[in-house]
């Protein structure tokens, strides 16, 4: 088990204006689950693309099994035994599982034979999957299994997994981990990319940490605390959000039997959601994406109108009021999708500040825009939320995801909302920005506002929520105090995993 499968030595790759990898060297042992840790932009993607033959390094070498390894294209990498499961699936919704798998193969066997092999592999590794089902009907976890089985059919020596758990429920994560452990016991090496530190601690044998393109450390994750690893990743002492104790406030927002049909073909209907949200509290709403999160935010923000009496703010019915009237009343929202929804990518930050803050910040007078005030407000957001940009006249799309998210959240928080609805506040945001955003939410609550935080990141919800409930197929579970909830209980609230079956390891 101690010999080396893949050895990287001095890999460097520069793009115009940025060095993605600088002198990266480490080795992956045979039958080892090796974690690659780092913030967004640390160079993880470039590195795995190099191994997978998608990127050619400027300098440095790789050795596979002691022989030189320089794949010119993914095909060569696959031939050498490297397989990769991407974060974004490349599957055709209209085709069946087996057809999708056949599409990715060099010489696909007959469909019958392939289906039999898919069944055999899915059985062997405890990944329940029916080869005849249409991919469009599968859950995110099941789609991932399609990708994994597609890789396993190549009998890989090295399996690369890019953020595999971001779309999974806790139970699905358990199933995945059993599979990965079984693969390890058979001698397959796994390069596991993630920023979820607790997962890495429970799964991985070694970890290499990248920061700004360089290897800044390695550790045994089983013996290193998550906090230490996070600090190595970020390169600074991490600020853990603090929360002040507080008394239970009055009910500010109430949803009563909130139901709405799906707004479009791929949407989710909201079904009979009833909950009271109190001032000074964070209501955490967990759940896998696509279970009605977008629709719930739209129903609250005013982008989707609902029947009278379903949503009320401080006792006033707001279900039919337009977006800006709700804003004026103190109900603000930040949707999940930053580019094109929460912000207009090709507009400047000033214009983006004007987008939602016109009424509450007095940025217009009789319809005429007061550009000096707009620029002032944008500058205020930029400085208060540490948005890294040369200035307010830069376009939104020139910002990194984390910086734009800080801007979007900051734009709403500085308008001093009474109720703030936020969807995926830290999705794709690096650790330090995520911590800053969570702290800002808690500060807002400490001032007496109510926050509804919708997220897929359970760690985040546990960190900031006072009460927790789960959104599943448009239904909201009974809220429960967040403190003391166990992962199992949360999993059950989320509706359980699809096909609760854990790998049965043979022999």
């Amino acid at each position: 088990m101690s010999d080396v499968l893949l050895k990287l030595a001095g890999l460097t790759k520069a793009y115009p204006g940025v060095v993605a990898n600088r002198d990266v060297s480490f080795q992956i042992g045979r039958g080892e689950i090796h974690a690659l840790l780092g913030e967004n932009g640390a160079g993880k993607s470039t590195l795995v693309k190099t191994i997978y033959g998608l990127v050619k390094p400027d300098s440095g070498t790789m050795d596979m099994n002691g022989a030189g390894f320089a794949p010119a294209e993914p095909k060569a990498a696959r031939a050498a035994g490297v397989a990769m499961v991407f974060q974004h699936f490349s599957l055709f919704d209209a085709l069946s599982v087996a057809e999708n798998i056949a599409l990715g193969m060099e010489n696909p066997p007959k469909m019958q034979a392939l289906a039999a092999r898919v069944r055999a592999v899915s059985d062997q590794y405890g990944l329940p999957l029916d080869p005849d089902r249409t991919v469009g009907d599968l859950s995110a976890g099941e789609r991932q299994r399609v990708e994994i089985i597609r890789c396993l059919l190549q009998d890989p020596k090295l399996l690369i997994m890019d953020e595999p758990t971001s779309v999974l429920t806790p139970q699905e994560v358990t199933i995945l981990f059993e599979t990965l452990r079984k693969l390890r016991s058979e001698g397959t090496s796994i390069l596991y990319i993630s920023h979820k530190l607790e997962e890495i601690r429970s799964l991985c044998d070694t970890a290499t940490i990248l920061r700004l393109g360089e290897v800044v450390g390695a550790c045994d994750p089983r013996e290193t605390s998550a906090r230490d690893m996070a600090e190595m990743m970020v390169g600074q002492v991490l600020h853990v959000p603090e929360r002040a104790a507080k008394a239970e406030g009055a009910v500010v927002l109430e949803m009563a039997g909130l139901s709405a049909p799906a707004p479009h073909q791929f949407g989710t209907a909201l079904r009979d959601i009833s909950i009271k949200v109190r001032a000074g509290q964070v209501l955490g709403i967990g759940g896998v994406a696509g279970n009605g999160q977008d629709e719930l935010v739209a129903a609250l923000s005013g982008e989707m109108k609902v029947k009278p009496g379903m949503v009320s703010l401080r006792g006033k019915d707001v279900g039919l009021l337009p977006v800006n009237t709700r804003r004026a009343m103190g109900l603000l929202a930040a949707p999940e999708e930053r580019m094109g929804h929460a912000a207009a990518p090709d507009m400047t930050l000033s214009e983006n500040a004007l987008m939602t803050a016109a009424t509450r910040k007095g940025l217009e007078q009789r319809g005429f825009i007061r550009w000096d005030r707009v620029r002032g407000f944008a500058a205020e957001v930029i400085s208060a939320f540490d948005v890294r940009t040369p200035g307010a006249e830069n376009t939104a799309r020139s910002l990194s995801g984390g910086n734009l998210q800080k801007f979007v959240i900051g734009r709403e928080i500085l308008q001093a909302p009474d109720v703030f609805v936020v969807n995926q506040p830290t999705w794709g945001v690096d650790a330090s920005a995520a911590a800053a955003i969570r702290q800002a939410l808690l500060d807002l609550v400490a001032k007496g506002a109510a926050v509804i935080c919708i997220s897929q990141d359970l760690d985040e919800l546990m960190e900031i929520s006072d009460r927790f409930c789960a959104l599943n197929e448009g239904r909201l579970s009974e809220p429960r105090p967040a403190q003391g909830l166990s992962v199992e209980e949360i999993g059950l609230m989320l509706g359980g995993a699809h096909d609760m079956e854990v790998a049965h390891v043979d022999g």
Partner: protein, 360 residues
């Protein structure tokens, strides 16, 4: 290998350079085309772009540029609101015709009264007519989700038939000895869209065009409505999040372009054209689409582009008469201008990167 790379910011330099480069490219390729037709390309280019402004006969041509440019700018300013918001009114030609018919009809109904109120009434009727014609595709789009491009375009042909029927029937000059066409409004002082300064070509339509440019400039840069128009076009979802009602936006933008098109039609029928006739419309409504894009949908740009397009009309006319150039060659030149502009436009948001491409 050469790859196109998206710029982090649109290039400010190219925003201005692209139209100029497009004009230069048009002159070059157009020149080659004229050479292939057996003409001296330099002479043709000079005749089209230089003579109307600076030759010794320019006093005769310059008013023509205003007369042709006025309606183009008025139409294009109206279209630019919708185009910026992602609402594609292709039927300005039809709204132009209906505006002319409605305005002329109101005037003719009062013939031969002599009161100063007639012309303002006609202006109002013209704007309302164009607006109403534009409301057909707008309401169908909002109510039933029909495609406004198709509906507005097809309504142009309906409007043309209506125009023919009016010229032959309801609005025909009773003293015209049976010839098609209405009374000549420009010879009836109460209804005439007079030249404001004799020999300048400046009539009320040109004044309206300048006012529209200033109005559009202020609305787009300073008013919340202009901001919402831009937001709707660039990020429709963000616009809804900002509180824009997409249906209302469609109605307003189509309404503005229809009303301005109707105005342009009225000023034309009461002025330079003088009467409702079967061949009253000459394609201004379509050329205005080119003008709007050539001017980057920016009011000042549209003003300049309208002037340039009017120049090619007038210069093209001279080239036809003096050099025997076919009319189709002039239309080709105008089409080329839009073609090159759209092609060069890529450079505003993208840049070329030379070197080895790779999948990254």
């Amino acid at each position: 290998m050469m790859v196109l790379e998206k710029r982090p910011q649109p290039s400010q330099r190219w925003v201005f350079a692209a139209p100029l480069l497009a004009v230069v490219l048009t002159m070059m390729v157009g020149g080659a085309l004229f050479a292939a037709l057996g003409k001296n390309p330099f002479e043709v280019i000079r005749t089209i772009f230089y003579d109307p402004l600076f030759s010794q006969n320019a006093w005769f041509y310059r008013p023509e540029i205003l007369i042709k440019g006025g309606p183009l700018v008025l139409l294009a300013i109206g279209l630019s609101f919708g185009f910026r918001a992602g609402i594609w009114n292709i039927g300005a030609e039809g709204q132009y015709i209906i505006g002319a018919i409605c305005g002329a009809a109101v005037g003719l109904a009062l013939y031969p009264a002599e009161t100063r109120l007639i012309f303002p009434l006609m202006v109002l009727a013209g704007a309302l007519g164009g607006w109403a014609w534009a409301m057909i595709p707008a309401i169908l789009r909002v109510r039933f989700g029909t495609n406004e491009i198709l509906v507005s375009l097809m309504l142009v042909y309906v409007a043309e038939q209506l125009l023919a029927s009016m010229a032959l029937g309801a609005l025909r000059n009773p003293e015209g000895m049976g010839f098609p066409g209405s009374r000549n409004l420009s010879q009836w002082p109460a209804a005439a869209n007079k030249e404001l300064i004799a020999g300048s070509g400046m009539h009320w339509g040109v004044v309206a065009a300048f006012i529209a440019v200033i109005f559009a400039y202020i609305v787009l840069s300073r008013h919340q409505f202009g901001f919402q128009v831009r937001l709707s076009g660039q990020a429709p979802r963000a616009a809804r999040f900002a509180g824009v009602n997409p249906g209302r936006m469609i109605l307003i933008c189509m309404g503005i372009s229809g009303a301005l098109a109707g105005l342009a039609g009225l000023f034309e029928v009461a002025g330079p054209s003088g009467q409702i006739s079967i061949d009253f419309n000459v394609g201004y409504g379509f050329t205005a689409i080119i003008v709007a894009f050539l001017g980057r949908l920016h009011p000042v740009g549209i003003l300049l582009a309208g002037g340039l397009m009017a120049l090619t009309y007038v210069g093209g006319g001279i080239a036809q008469g003096q050099l025997g150039l076919p009319a189709a060659a002039i239309q080709l030149l105008q089409g080329m201008l839009l073609f090159f502009l759209l092609a060069v436009d890529v450079l505003t948001n993208y840049r070329f990167r030379f070197g080895k491409g790779e999948v990254a």
